[in-house]
């Protein structure tokens, strides 16, 4: 980039971006107008032209990426929006190759049981375990991906180093299931369970409890009454961490994370959520070690969506074989027809559409 080009590029940017670029480069940059600011920035850029240019491009990239990336909801529902949005949506669809919709026969193909295979951990599972060596980890992957394997292996490694492990779950039912499962894996003598009024094998190295009980333990420890061996605590696993957003109980997850002893690693297991980066950034900002984010949204077993009419007729729900991510409007024509008929017949008052 020549200096002229750079100057031109700067001039095209909104002032807010220039101010962000000026942070740490130009003193009292808020006091200057755009012209002057560009001048000062150019003068400063002489010190490290390459660094300056790459920062500028990154900022511009961020700005243009923001509207395109689809945080909370990716696509507009065409039906209810303004003419403009509708035009944008239809233009979008025209770009798609208009392949014929999938047939029911093709949609039903491939049902079956996979041949037995030796257990090989997925790369993300290995990755989560490796990252746990150097800091906290949050795993945000779809339901049924295999988060339990990460929990079990992490617990095994911590116990091998003679450290206590706590596994916290949101529900008693889940605690009970995990108690049975972990007892089978590690031996009944190595696993304990704590509830409000009962503790089975409370001195075991792997303790299962609900998050509320764990929070209470941490408060007791902070108040001076050490109850369980928190000093040897090496790992706290919080399953179903998306409960952080539960209106009534979410606060307990926050309290537990805030007061989790700094020598213990945190392993948060969560279903897919919209902002796992925020959680990771938050943990990094309050804990003594960085928090790594392990995230993917690809299901291990592919999913297909269908529509079953009350008269027993089955059809694919979408035009495509799999789920058309980001395109909620790509209905299968047959499903569309059948459902329209359903609405006509069951909702004569014309409730919608």
């Amino acid at each position: 980039m020549t200096t002229e080009e750079l100057e031109q590029l700067l001039a095209q940017q909104p002032i807010a971006l220039l101010h962000r670029l000026a942070r740490g480069r130009v003193q009292r940059h808020f006091r200057t107008g755009k012209r002057r600011l560009i001048e000062l920035l150019l003068r400063h850029s002489a010190e490290n032209r390459a660094g300056f240019e790459s920062d500028l491009l990154a900022l511009i990239g961020e700005r243009t990426a923001r509207p395109a990336a689809p945080p909370p909801r990716p696509a507009v529902q065409p039906a209810r929006h303004s003419a403009e949005a509708r035009r944008a949506a239809s233009a979008h669809q025209e770009q798609e190759p208009h392949e014929p919709a999938v047939t029911l026969q093709a949609w039903l193909e491939g049902i079956g049981v996979p041949p037995p295979q030796p257990f090989v951990p997925d790369p993300w599972q290995e990755d989560a375990l490796a990252k746990l060596q150097t800091g906290d980890v949050i795993v945000s992957v779809p339901t049924g991906s295999g988060k339990t394997y990460v929990a079990v292996e992490a617990a095994r490694r911590a116990m091998e180093e003679n450290r206590t492990v706590i596994y916290a779950s949101p529900l008693k039912a889940l605690s009970n299931t995990k108690f049975t499962e972990f007892s089978r894996i590690f031996g009944a003598d190595r696993v304990g369970i704590l509830t409000g009024d009962r503790r089975d094998n409370g001195q075991a190295p792997l303790l299962i409890m609900t998050t509320e009980i764990l929070r209470n333990l941490l408060y007791d420890a902070a108040g001076g009454e050490i109850d369980v061996r928190l000093d040897t605590l090496g790992l706290v696993i919080m399953d179903e961490s998306q409960y952080l957003a539960d209106p009534e109980r979410g606060v307990v997850w926050e309290e537990t994370i805030i007061f989790c002893p700094s020598q213990a690693r945190l392993l948060l297991l969560s279903a897919s959520i919209g902002n796992p980066h925020d959680i990771a950034d938050w943990l990094t900002s309050i804990r003594s070690t960085p928090c790594h984010l392990i995230k993917h949204s690809k299901r291990t077993v592919p999913l297909r969506a269908g529509y079953l009419h009350p008269d027993g007729k089955l059809t694919p729900l979408f035009r495509t074989l799999g789920i058309p991510h980001g395109h909620p409007g790509q209905w299968h024509p047959e499903a569309k027809r059948l459902f329209a008929r359903y609405e006509d017949e069951t909702m004569p008052s014309g409730r919608r559409r």
Binding site: A85, G196, A271, N275
Partner: protein, 619 residues
């Protein structure tokens, strides 16, 4: 055509196409039970080998949990290979169904969406019949995250090559919610941090008061508030920039100076002060109707794009972007509510008063706003206060009329003062975001000091020292009851009964056993206290009928589980949950053994008699 597919036909269709095992999510427990009943007269029974396999698994589970040996669903489960699994069932029954599913014994399970996350319960196919769920007495649409959790149970790793999520309609289904759920990106999660009395007591037990702010700053709540504050700070930077041309002139604070001069001038002039024929609440509100603000109208909502005064009457007007995309000019008086929410809006000098990208994103955000938004509290001043006469007399003191920058001030004043107001508003908003948690914390400290759990210096008092061990809902009511000696001399059954009426928060009606006179009068006392505490803590439901269930179970050790169930119309699972929660509350009372030995002892007796039969089966 029936409004929804018959369960027997559904299972037949799934079997034919090799789509079993399936989980069928139905709208209610009742729907699940009725689905099970509908198999009573079918003759499509399982081959004997499969029936035997089911019997074998059940036998193993029953050996561990005898309470389900006589479960009324067992014959259908065994004959047809379908089961029901919902919150009305005992945990042990749910374990049995999960176990059967894991062994591949069942073709279908009818469940409600409460089938909790994490319980290992996958199937080849998931059937979805609804697009909304009941939450706190209201039906709300499923979120994208919820649809994906439900659909995600389809396709078992290692057992299926593909999984199927099949929608079958029932009345009131909105297929759009589901297709969006399948294809969308899950919602961001937001902090639900609330400051409770036990939290304050426990924090102050462990740390001095001056460390509270740094501790609160570690919450995810503050992390997210900071994110919002940073956005405002960036906006503030922008405003600083725009204020650039309006720096000091002949007088340093020329904006205030001109403002004052202008007002005094008007009051002195023969025309008198400008009379605005507008009610004070409209003028008060008008001040807040700035671009990006969400305004409530009689039946809908809109985003403010600009505010102005009409040419002739000078009446307050706003340009609104309405739901659906219409842009209208309306008198500010039609705004019924001003919400505490301002969307990002890049203003533009011409119609539609903001950039096109901004318009699109505003519209999208507007459509996606939650149904309920906090309303901005607006103080309405009694009347337009005139400038005191003393100042009016001093018009001669203003140097404005002869000042060289007079014309510039006159021209710029309106814009500059608007910018400055906005700056001030932003500064305040940022401050509020940075300090709101701390203020909420201080409110709780005040209340705890009022009740004597904290000293004026915010140290734990003697009462605070034990009260911090009560870490459940309605902790203030419970500790106040203890201090009022409400439980002194009460039998364990009575104590437990009161605890369960505090713990229970479901107002589903039903038939229940009679209430003993002792319980009635004690609950009356509790209700009175709860009422008096209502400014500090929401009172619990305190249902006497619910309390009576617990009282009978504890008072009569010969009462069997079946006997107890017969005394009420509550579902088995609900009775179990009630007693389990009571157990939790009682065990908190038990932790007070050092300071309140009699109460702790009473609680542990209640625990001992409560934990029998079904309640002993699980930890």
């Amino acid at each position: 055509m029936p409004p929804s597919i018959h369960p027997v036909d559904l299972i037949t269709a799934l079997r034919q196409r090799h789509l079993t095992p399936a989980i069928v999510f139905l709208t209610s427990r009742r729907a699940c039970d009725e689905a099970m009943e509908s198999f009573d007269h079918t003759n499509s029974v399982l081959p004997p080998a499969r029936q035997e396999a089911i019997a074998k698994v059940l036998e193993q589970v029953i050996a561990q949990y005898p309470s389900i040996a006589e479960h009324p669903l067992i014959p259908t489960v065994q004959r047809i290979g379908v089961a029901a699994h919902h919150a009305g069932h005992l945990p042990s029954w749910k374990i049995a169904v999960e176990e059967l599913m894991r062994h591949g014994c069942l073709d279908a399970v009818f469940a409600t969406t409460t089938l909790a996350a994490g319980v290992d319960f996958p199937a080849r196919t998931v059937i979805i019949t609804q697009s909304s769920i009941r939450k706190a007495r209201d039906f709300t649409d499923l979120t994208i995250g919820e649809v994906q959790q439900i659909a995600g149970r389809a396709g078992r790793r290692g057992k299926d090559l593909v999984g199927f999520a099949i929608v079958t309609p029932s009345p009131y289904i909105d297929l759009g919610v589901l297709t969006k759920g399948f294809t969308g990106h899950p919602e961001a999660i937001n902090s639900q941090f609330v400051i409770s009395y036990p939290m304050v007591l426990n924090l102050l037990k462990a740390h001095p008061l001056d460390q509270m702010q740094p501790i609160l700053a570690k919450s995810f709540a503050q992390f997210q508030l900071n994110q919002r504050a940073e956005i405002l700070e960036r906006k503030l930077d922008d405003l600083h920039q725009q204020m650039e041309p309006y720096g000091p002139r002949v007088c340093t604070d020329w904006i205030t100076q001109w403002h004052l001069y202008d007002q005094v001038r008007r009051q002195r002039s023969h025309r008198g002060p400008v009379r605005r024929h507008e009610p004070p609440d409209v003028s008060a509100r008008f001040h807040f109707l700035t671009p990006g603000r969400i305004a409530g109208l009689a039946k809908s909502r809109g985003v403010v794009l600009r505010q102005y005064r009409s040419k002739g009457q000078k009446s307050p007007m706003v340009t609104l972007l309405r739901q659906g995309g219409a842009i209208t000019e309306c008198p500010a008086a039609i705004v019924t509510e001003v919400f505490d929410r301002v969307l990002d809006c890049t203003e533009a000098p011409v119609y539609p008063w903001c950039t096109t990208e901004s318009l699109e994103s505003l519209l999208r955000e507007l459509e996606e706003l939650p149904a309920r938004l906090p309303v901005l509290p607006i103080l309405v001043s009694k009347e337009h206060e005139p400038i005191p006469d003393a100042i009016v007399q001093t018009l001669g003191d203003f140097s404005c009329p002869t000042c060289p920058s007079r014309s510039a001030c006159q021209k710029d004043h309106a814009h500059a003062s608007k910018l400055r107001q906005e700056q001030q508003r932003n500064v305040k908003a940022i401050q509020a975001l940075r300090t709101s948690l701390w203020h909420r914390f201080q409110d709780k400290i005040d209340a705890l000091q009022h009740f004597g759990y904290l000293s004026p210096g915010a140290r734990l008092t003697e009462a605070g020292e034990w009260a911090r061990l009560i870490r459940i809902d309605h902790s203030l009511l419970i500790t106040e009851l203890i201090r009022a000696e409400a439980f002194t001399g009460a039998a364990p059954a009575l104590l437990a009964a009161v605890m369960s009426s505090i713990a229970h928060d479901d107002d589903r009606p039903g038939a229940f056993p009679r209430i003993s006179p002792g319980l009635g009068s004690l609950l009356g006392q509790v209700r009175k206290l709860a009422e008096s505490l209502s400014p500090y803590e929401d009172p619990p439901l305190l249902r006497a009928d619910i309390a009576a269930v617990t009282e009978q179970w504890i008072a009569d050790p010969t009462l069997t589980w079946i006997g107890l169930c017969k005394k009420t119309t509550m579902a088995e699972g609900d009775i179990y949950r009630l007693l389990a929660r009571t157990l939790e509350f009682l065990s908190q009372l038990h932790t007070l053994k050092d300071t309140h030995p009699a109460l702790a002892d009473c609680a542990s007796q209640a625990i001992a008699s409560l934990r029998r039969g079904v309640l002993e089966e699980l930890p």
